[in-house]
Assembly symmetry: C2
Homo-oligomer: 354 residues x 2
């Protein structure tokens, strides 16, 4: 399929690239493609960024048949535009699509479309340290119909936002609240996908955690409310007595691409790492025994976020004296080094655009 390109005739003023907020400004263009039952995905096009016109009866407004992805583009010192493992994002989008009864995408085609879009908007990629072009592919159901069933029509879009840090804390350790009342999802439901409903369901607990002075919530499993799952938009890692542990992919947490990359790096370095079920009680026991050495979150938006405090019920666990740990720092340096091109990409993770 050929991608038609309509360039904007009224380029927007770019925001000041210093101290950029996350996900608030959008570049000049977007990619759009439509789907109709019997016809498949059609009319792929890059057009000026602008509003969507949808009937109030469009299914996405009522039944949230919607999925999304998130990845980043960086510009390296020599001016090359670099995408971090973009195939993984579109492969995961197809996993989400399958669960949400949304038609699959052609992964290679999507990466190609993304390259063309990012190339066109390359001047929107910030070069400041810690900043990047955050890329948001998403699919929404557009049938004008109020019955509950899969839509016959969809829109797939890619929008781009020059963005700074996701957490204002940056690499300063964050405080995380272990949620013991609300539940995000459960095995058998949609927790392993990136679908809007998972996030809608998480907002309230996050608001309460904020009010209590915590920046994020750590979710426990929906069945027993005992086992650690993940943070709002990050997977979670613990270093306990020399071993790095992260919850296994159990159907209710997202298979994070930063998680996957972190595990691959640790293995390469010979650091013991295991993916398994881990209860919050075990974390607390390790803490009390002085063996909870590091804790960090992994996710595209924040990349690596050290956790300095975990609160579980009345227990406050201060981790590594509220300092970033050694492994945490090494994973952060390596992943950001590869992303921005200051370190060699030995794993072949980066796809350059030009």
């Amino acid at each position: 399929m050929n991608i038609s390109i309509t360039k904007t005739t009224t380029p927007k003023a770019k925001p000041t690239m210093d101290n950029l907020p996350f996900g608030k400004y959008f570049s000049d263009h977007m990619f759009v493609m439509d789907y109709a039952e019997g016809k498949g995905w059609y009319d792929p096009r890059i057009v000026p960024y602008g509003p969507l016109e949808l009937e109030p009866s469009a299914m996405v407004f009522h039944y949230a048949q919607e999925i999304f992805e998130g990845l980043k583009a960086y510009k390296s010192k020599d001016g090359h535009v670099r995408l971090f493992r973009p195939y993984k994002n579109f492969e995961r989008m197809n996993v989400s699509a399958e669960r949400l009864a949304i038609p699959a995408l052609d992964v290679d085609f999507c990466v190609d479309a993304l390259k063309q879009l990012v190339e066109l908007d390359r001047d929107w990629i910030p070069e400041q340290e810690g900043a990047s072009l955050y890329i948001r592919p998403f699919i929404i159901a557009t049938d004008e119909y109020l019955g509950v069933r899969p839509s016959d029509t969809y829109k797939f879009l890619i929008i781009c936002s020059p963005s700074g840090l996701y957490y204002p804390e940056g690499l300063d350790p964050v405080k995380i609240y272990v949620e013991d009342k609300y539940v995000r999802t459960v095995r058998g439901a949609t927790g392993f996908t990136k679908t809007g409903g998972n996030y809608a369901s998480s907002i309230k607990a996050q608001v309460i955690a904020h009010e209590r002075g915590y920046s994020q919530v750590l979710w426990l499993d929906g069945v027993e409310q005992k086992y650690v799952e993940e943070v709002g938009s990050m997977n979670i890692f613990f270093k306990i007595d020399g071993e790095v542990v992260t919850p296994m992919l159990n159907g209710s947490i997202l298979s994070g691409i930063t998680r996957m990359s972190t595990i691959e790096l640790l293995k390469k370095w010979g650091v013991p790492v295991s993916e398994r079920r881990i209860s919050i009680q075990e974390i607390f026991d390790a803490y009390q025994a002085g063996k909870l050495e590091e804790c960090f979150g992994t996710g595209t938006a924040a990349i690596i976020s050290p956790v300095g405090e975990l609160r579980w019920e009345d227990h406050v666990m201060t981790i590594n004296d509220n300092q970033i740990g050694e492994i945490t720092q090494r994973v952060f340096d390596t992943i950001t080094g590869i992303q921005t091109g200051t370190m060699p990409d030995e794993m072949n993770w980066v796809v350059t655009v030009d």
Copy 2:
């Protein structure tokens, strides 16, 4: 707040009111109101039905911060327009709003707005038996922002769809598949609300059930996958050995207004009815003992839907010889009689518009 009214200058052709589909046609007008943090709900207006213009970054497309309601208007033989328990819908909408971190609505104001809208579009209310004007209030998050947090801006709309039967079966008993793999939701999550994500998560199991020849799925609880919860868009009732039983409100099922009305009627009639936890094994045991006498679903869209067959794993339970049961019929006759005005409204459920 005063509701401004802009009438359409190009009224649409009405569909043939015989054999109307459900939720496919929409009336000439809609109600719209906006919300901004610090300002509250503002600018309530009735305007011609038409598309919404939203930025691709609008939060509803990404994080499904959205809730909805569903109720019906009927026209009685003497021409009066009748709404069935509309206050309950807006009260429940506020329950959903609270869980989804969406600002509350003024219930009386909403019923008033709805009355004005329905009065204006009264010619869109079908008078055919079984048909009605299906009313869909909904709220969507509109902030142009990609971080996960509550939106600061929202849109509240009410749209109206002249609709026929929800199930093509009508009062013919439906076949229902007991879902033992997929899960809709779990206590602590959003199951008791009407938020899009609950429905998105349910679509896949429903598609599979359809392929197997079943019209709906009966969900089991998310924790043990043992206890009966509800159907896709209905609560469920069983008559076992003379007693009517329905799952208790446990935080993961919707508090249906038809369910509530059914319980109130049964109590008034002196029919034993209990709300409690009920396992699918108990249903099957009752079936085997010849004591599963009736089964029916309750919901605004289908009103009362007799269940003729329940399939659980390899067990096929045929209920009441695939005929509508006595209690099922009586509840159906009474609720529809009250809704349409052919029976006295002793419970004061109906709100007339004019």
